[in-house]
Symmetry: C2
Subunit: 217 residues, 2 copies
């Protein structure tokens, strides 16, 4: 599949068929994650693929109360969003059926192989993610190429302690995300909706128009 | 270009031709970054494309002393790595010629549109990067597809204050990375070298073999 086609149709898949995903395909999309660059080529990222039904149920049991708290904040306006109620229903469907999604992939990162370069700045650190989430994007693009749906969720870091215990993840690793993987029940979008390039990219000075940024698309 | 081919040949390009990169190509690879998913679809990432020679020289002047400190730590063994001296010479060449690379892309992120979900945990936060670096990976994969070389560096966050002033980046934004972009002087690799899948991916329990992970490759 063409790179651009994969990118512009890679949506968050919140409805899955119950059909199993083969070992070969799981390995193929994880293999794609391997190629991503990491700081000093330290390759800090590892993965636990969860297929065991009882463990997926246990992960669901971690996810549900976290999501219930979030959706209440959306409903009350405590978290502001432009989300429609039908969109929130989709996300709620995803949460309620989390255990049924055939594959959960827990993304781990080894602390000693991550560097928080910006820890000396007086702000939240961002850079450790630069050695983690490019690999996650590779994984999800590969899944899209194979016709598989994914969702990236970081909510489960709030249950990191329980997830690590459940999957025997060593102390020296963090959990950075969970990716759900399965066959989508609905078609992929023809093209995602995003802010136009002219609103997000500038030339030589913030706010200065970028040539060829073109009209909204 | 096929997704997998782009991923497994996307190296850090440290030698560039002086040839210019067209506006249309710069816009094309930035456009690819737009599609990446972000938490709550908040789309926090924006970009300043730096073509102006004086500004690229000013960015170089930020980069050089940071790199000089790093390479001294490699040389003294303060930072342990398996890097050969020829590899370090390549990276040093990159640093010394930073200003000559035709395009620098400063990746910014709007704080209010980032959520540090894991800020409540007793560890360094990782999750804000999940709404930044997938877009960066899209950008670099698109560049690879076009035959353009890139390097992702996070070292320049250490000069965030100066870079923001130079490019009029508003206070409410962080800098998360700088990507260099240009025509590579050397061919892309046939396939990158990484840890084998069997060492990084497990089934249902950390350390348990993943079926189909196969031999080292």
């Amino acid at each position: 599949m063409d790179v651009y086609d994969a990118m512009q149709t890679l949506n968050a898949c919140r409805y899955y068929k119950p059909d199993p995903v083969s070992d070969a395909l799981v390995a193929k999309v994880l293999n794609a994650a391997r190629w991503a660059a990491t700081g000093s080529n330290n390759q800090p990222v590892t993965y636990v693929v969860v297929r065991d039904a009882a463990k997926r149920r246990a992960i669901h049991d971690c996810y549900q109360p976290i999501w219930d708290t979030v959706i209440k904040k959306y409903a009350s306006g405590e978290i502001k969003s432009g989300f429609s109620s039908s969109f929130l229903q989709n996300v709620d469907h995803f949460a309620r059926h989390f255990a049924e999604i055939p594959v959960h992939i827990v993304v781990c990162a080894r602390w000693k192989d991550l560097t928080a370069l910006d820890a000396s700045l007086d702000r939240t650190v961002l850079t450790p993610g630069s050695s983690i989430y490019p690999a996650v994007q590779n994984l999800m693009l590969a899944a899209r190429t194979e016709g598989l749906g994914t969702v990236l969720t970081t909510l489960l870091v709030l249950a990191e302690k329980d997830i690590k215990k459940l999957l025997n993840i060593p102390d020296e690793l963090a959990t950075a995300a969970v990716i759900t993987l399965g066959w989508p029940e609905k078609p992929f979008p023809e093209k995602l909706k995003r802010k136009p390039l002219s609103e997000i990219a500038f030339l030589d000075s913030y706010g200065a128009a970028l040539p060829s940024a073109g009209p909204p698309s």
